[in-house]
Amino acid sequence: MKLTLHVWRQKSTSQKGAFETHVMDSVSPDMSFLEMLDELNQALITNGKEPVAFDHDCREGICGSCGVVINGRPHGPQRATTACQLHMRSYQDGQEIWVEPWRASAFPVVKDLMVDRTSFDRIIQSGGFISVRTGSAPDANEIPVPKVDADKAFDAAACIGCGACVAACPNASAMLFTAAKVSHMGLLPQGQPEREQRVLSMVSTMDEEGFGSCTNHKECQEACPKEISIDYISRMNRDYVCASKNKG
């Protein structure tokens, strides 16, 4: 099939970017979206033009590297699917496609479709862990965890850190990302000793990094390729209130 592609090109963080248009003549429906970008890049190189930079690695929807906004939607139109697993059978002959990077001040554009997401790492560094030194753990079955809690914790822990939630949010809020980690650990007995400190510290880092607030648009949940629920945001808010109160 034939497609018209408008791709965001931006040389570096400090330079201005713009859309560049390319016509793709023979796109196979069995290609993934990123394989379609690969083809575009091969053609660009052959014509002496620099290829489009984009982040990608596992191409199995789990590493969280990839992420572009496709026709206004992070990761494109298919529910619970990352851009690397989106296949071109989702598009029709003659369609126009606009591809751009995540837009958020906490995710500055590095080049073309790549953004800097180290702010997410810093949120985790501020408390997204359980402090257990290697070698100090008790036997794994000495900490029973009800299956229901373990499953709920897993649902939150499934976050791949891609940043689609931020890109989808009109406020560029990182509440879903932060809430997923706060909840994953807060739901488990292992996470209790640091529960209050964790939520206070992670929320404050999230604010310092320049992410916006949550005003219940629920776009993050829609865009999340791992279908993480905004229930976790409510859970985090409650934890935050309790922790703030206890702190006095």
């Binding site: 290609m31 993934s32 091969q42 190189i45 298919q78 079955n141 900490i143 822990a157 850190g161 292992q190």
Partner: protein, 637 residues
């Protein structure tokens, strides 16, 4: 080059404990004076960096991804083995040891494998304490499932995302140490060479992938946890960025490369759909717990699966290996799938596929149960193929997945270069000629959490290491070489893209050094690879600049190294004139097509020494002694 494996003496069950006691220690206050460079942030790298930092070492950690959380360990699906015997089904450290040695087709070191089995139990404890959300029973205890090559249920799992959850556990430990200022993290930074001072590994040269800046980092020891090289085949289940560069650069500086031909071709991957394909997707081996593998009995049968009656189906794994059935080890399952397709019984448009069918399991346990166990895998399959595996069987075909070969290391995980330690998939150690499912996560974390933290201290305590800095001539010289290579790549300005070379190399390797190898084919590859390498250096087109984010340049450097490494792989495969595990030489098989090992001549590790590009590498042998497991023909019948 001397290969001293440093295996401790004494009974196998006491070796590690007595070795730990004999290792020299460094006073807690002195540890901070030692800088350790860790390259890679996967299970092995992240766990090592975090643990070394907890102990007090001054750690720098590097990864080429934009975050340490994205290393390819994250994609491991099925699980992690541990000899906990929580199922009361007869498991033990000794049984896990035995299964792993046998599964590796008697080509691994007994002492290393025994230690791995011992440590396996600590890993589960550590991960559970970190909050890794393993699957649980209703009583709150940990659940297990069974995996290929074992008759006990010892695999711990977190749905089909065990690698992700374990890596996020290690990443959280690493993040804690970054926050504490004990680890300095360098994301989007690629190691491009190793720096040697007085014959010891004392640092690395890196390229900042965002700014293109070439920089040196000095330390007292280097730990490489840089993963495997399956992408030498171009199409594999590995992430696009996986590469052999760090390992190859170290090899060129004197680190022996062991058993490079031992590659694992995983039986359950989604078949290739066309020439645009950039990578292959694995469907977890755990699916073989409930899925039945079959092909039509009739050649070229084009009927839909549901129209083929039961008596016209060949459940060939159940037929050939009645005691292990669909859970036969990976090498066998892959080869038999290839046989069936070679016989013309393959399915799908290309004929390169076999069915993995869940209809019996769904009848037995209900669709909901199957969905709970494998839902995410079924969804992934449907996204990629457009077919619904609840309604029709999956189509699967083998694909390169893991490399058992890697840099040679001794019992302390140190390579033949003093001070260079190699962990996880990057070393050759514990899996012999074939890795059992759910053992990669176990080994990566064993090396990082529980082996290197002990053994590195011994090295640092014993060696007199003078102070070095990036302004020393050795660093400046290495940086110069790195820059020259980059400039050369950018100046060729030929007509072919880097990818087109990588694809062509991949085809050569898949055809001649893939699932089945022959003397003739390997010799052919050894002619074709240098030709392709010459063309690459004369005709590759890499646009853009070195002082900028340049993904073509990154790839070009990696492909250039693959074009040298591929030759070594073929030399190794050619020299090993026997079949064992993932290495199948067509000339060496039994009448029923099983691998025919030759213990008389090949019961050794092949460790290769670099002698120059295009020149035949030099072989060194480490003989394998089997004192506890009796060498036997590996049978799963």
């Amino acid at each position: 080059m001397e290969l001293n494996s440093k295996i401790p003496s004494g009974p196998i069950q006491d070796k590690w404990d007595s070795h730990k006691f004999n290792l020299k220690l460094i006073n807690p206050a002195n540890k901070r004076k030692y800088q350790v460079i860790v390259v890679g942030s996967g299970l092995a790298g992240a766990s090592a960096a975090a643990t070394l930092a907890e102990l007090g070492y001054d750690v720098k950690c590097f990864c080429f991804q934009d975050s340490p959380r994205r290393a390819h360990s994250i994609a491991a699906q099925g699980g992690i083995n541990a000899a906990k015997n929580y199922q009361n089904d007869g498991d033990s450290i000794y049984r896990l040891f035995y299964d792993t040695v046998k599964g590796g087709d008697f080509r691994s070191r007994e002492a290393n494998v025994y230690r791995l089995a011992q440590i396996s139990v600590n890993i589960i404890d550590q991960a559970a304490a970190q909050g890794v959300p393993f699957a649980r029973e209703y009583g709150g205890m940990l659940a297990n499932r069974s995996f290929g090559g074992a008759q006990v249920s010892r695999t711990f799992y977190a749905r089909g995302q065990t690698g992700q959850q374990l890596l996020l556990g290690a990443y959280s430990a690493l993040s804690r140490m970054i926050a504490a200022g004990k680890v300095k993290m360098y994301p989007r930074t690629e190691m491009l060479d190793l720096v040697m001072v007085d014959g010891k590994a004392r640092g690395i040269v890196t390229r900042d992938l965002t700014t293109g800046k070439i920089e040196s980092h000095a330390g007292h020891a280097v730990v490489m946890a840089t993963g495997g090289y399956s992408t030498v085949f171009y199409l594999s289940t590995n992430a696009m960025g996986c590469n052999v560069t760090a390992n190859w650069r170290a090899h060129r500086k004197g680190a022996a490369f062991a058993n490079p031909c031992y590659t694992q071709i995983h039986p359950t991957c989604i078949p290739v759909s066309g020439d645009h394909q950039s990578k292959l997707t694995l469907m977890s081996e755990s699916l073989r717990n409930d899925g039945r593998i079959w092909v039509p009995k009739k050649k070229g049968d084009t009927r839909a699966a549901k129209d083929i009656p039961e008596n016209e189906r060949d459940y060939y794994l159940e037929r050939l290996y009645p005691s292990f059935g669909n859970l036969a080890p990976r090498d066998l399952a892959s080869r038999r799938a290839k046989d069936m397709c070679d016989l013309g019984q393959g399915v799908g448009a290309t004929g390169l596929g076999v069915y993995l069918d869940f209809s019996d399991a769904m009848k037995r346990d209900g669709e909901a149960t199957i969905s709970e166990k494998y839902g995410n895998l079924f969804d992934m399959y449907e996204r990629i193929t457009g077919e619904n595996p609840y309604r029709q069987p999956m189509r699967i075909f083998p694909a390169p997945h893991y490399t058992m070969g890697g840099l040679w290391v001794d019992y302390n995980l140190m390579s033949t270069i003093p001070g260079l330690h190699v962990l996880g998939e990057a070393n050759f150690s514990d899996h012999g000629a074939n890795r059992l499912g759910a053992s990669a996560l176990m080994q990566g974390l064993a090396d990082g959490y529980f082996v290197i933290p002990y053994t590195i201290g011994d090295y640092l305590a014993r060696e007199e290491l003078k102070d070095v800095s990036p302004s020393d001539s050795e660093f400046i010289e290495t940086e110069k070489q790195v820059r020259q290579k980059i400039d050369r790549l950018l100046s060729i300005d030929g007509t072919r893209t880097v990818d087109s070379f990588h694809r062509e190399l991949g085809r050569i390797m898949w055809n001649h050094c893939g699932m089945a190898r022959t003397d003739k084919g390997l010799k052919e590859a050894l002619v074709k690879i240098p030709e392709l390498r010459d063309e690459f250096w004369n005709n590759v087109r890499v646009l853009g600049e070195g002082s900028d984010l340049n993904q073509s340049l990154e790839k070009a450097g990696r492909v250039a190294d693959f074009l040298e490494f591929a030759e070594l792989m073929c030399h190794d495969a050619l020299t090993r004139a026997e079949s064992c595990g993932g290495h199948f030489r067509e000339e060496h098989q039994t009448e029923d097509g099983e691998a025919k090992r030759n213990d008389e001549e090949y019961s050794h590790v092949s460790a290769w020494e670099f002698t120059g590009v295009g020149s035949t590498p030099k072989l060194h042998k480490e003989n394998l002694e089997f004192e506890n497991v009796k060498l036997a023909t590996r049978s799963y019948k």
